[in-house]
Symmetry: C2
Subunit: 230 residues, 2 copies
DNA sequence: ACAAAAGTGTTCGCGCTACACCCATGC
DNA sequence: GCATGGGTGTAGCGCGAACACTTTTGT
């Protein structure tokens, strides 16, 4: 209980930044390639060390803004603490992992060593970062169906078809645009903008554009069972 | 990015240990009363500092076993990192909060300064521990309906009435024992033991005893919508 | 006119809630 | 017998999946 012989550790924050990229229509993760040892050449999650005057959440937001020019992270949440004693060499280091979501069609200026990679074919990863990425993937999948977290992956305005492609990329299976509309509408999450998108080159009816009414994280379907009466 | 001028911090683990106590039929939390400054007299969550050779999860389990003789914690999960710079005086300290669940009818030997308190009328709490407790409460409520987390609150064998009282205590509203049985049975979580409980003093049909078939955490109802086909 | 793509409506079924009814035991 | 409590059955319905049908555009 005395603080004298307490071991001190380095606290770092690491972000699994995900986006559904318009070109590939896949979930991709933001990684940077290490230029020096240890683990030189391997790919790492963006992040860094906690400063004295900030919380881990503040630190994570700051580091994303500073290092990879990501100011428009639409959602940022903790996914867990990674603390295996041998997870990195040198000073004992404990990491708080985060899930960060960037809307499609955002294309931030990235440093030269930084880029997007498909989440289901990760390059050789540094330290325990692959494990953290997998945890984030799992969290995102789980929350997509009972929260409004999809808003953080969609652009500000979108057609229902485009939105269903985003859901499909995350979940890995077909998502009916029809049902998607009804479910999100019933939950009060979807509003038509009144405008329409331009039709494709082969013609076709122009799609209506929609917007999410709520742009902050919210649990929209909290109870699988044991709902409170009324 | 050099490690030379990196600030080092103390990493601690803190547990919100909850149980539905048979006497009060309420959710109660395990707290100990601080005997010295800072925050002398206030109540604190059990926990302590991370050791060099352990993960935070291992540390939490160890500290609960050592300090409050809690070896039978049926469920232990991280609920988040609490890292406000001024959350405690002295060395910068970052806490990983845990939710721990103890089955009803367990009555571990506790130190003299340690005891159970009703969760919805917390005594004066030290540091940011009240906030951590609230987070844990919220997590438990949320997960009760779509996971099997209830197993960690129930004794090894129980009547359906007793189980429904446990669910009621956590959720704060009525839970129909009839429907509870059907739902848990359908999810394959419930098995009758074949034995029966003794009837109450006023008579009445003796209740059948049940057991949970699965005694590890599992998500039983992962999709509110967008289920994968087949 | 025809193809292409979007939007609407309908059917179906599952799973949860509510509640009535039947069963077993003590007095 | 009656009171007490446990267990079973059933009706209703909200929600989501699947899919056919209609509407609007370009060629």
């Amino acid at each position: 209980m005395t603080e004298s012989n307490t071991t001190l550790v380095r606290v770092e924050v690491l972000a699994v930044v995900l986006a559904v990229r318009p070109i590939t229509r896949q979930v991709e993760i933001l990684l940077w390639q290490r230029g020096r040892d240890p683990e030189s050449g391997r790919w790492a999650l963006p992040g860094g060390t906690l400063l004295p005057a900030e919380t881990v959440d503040e630190s994570m937001a700051r580091q994303l803004a500073q290092k990879v020019d990501l100011t428009r992270v639409a959602h940022l949440e903790q996914i867990g603490v990674f603390s295996a004693p041998d997870r990195s060499p040198g000073v004992r280091s404990v990491a708080t992992g985060f899930l960060g979501l960037v809307p499609a069609h955002e294309d931030p200026d990235l440093p030269a060593d930084t880029g997007w990679h498909p989440l289901d074919r990760l390059p050789p990863m540094a330290f325990d970062h692959a494990e953290i990425a997998q945890r984030a993937r799992h969290r995102l999948r789980g929350k997509l169906s009972y929260t409004n977290i999809g808003f953080a992956l969609a652009p500000r305005e979108f057609t229902l078809n485009a939105l269903s492609r985003i859901y499909r990329a995350v979940l890995g299976h077909e998502v009916d645009a029809t049902n998607l509309q009804r479910i999100l509408t019933r939950r009060g999450m979807l509003a038509p903008t009144g405008t329409r998108a331009a039709p494709g080159p082969a013609g076709g009816r122009p799609a209506a554009l929609y917007r999410f009414t709520v742009t902050e994280y919210r649990v929209t379907d909290p109870f699988a069972a044991f709902r409170p009466p009324e």
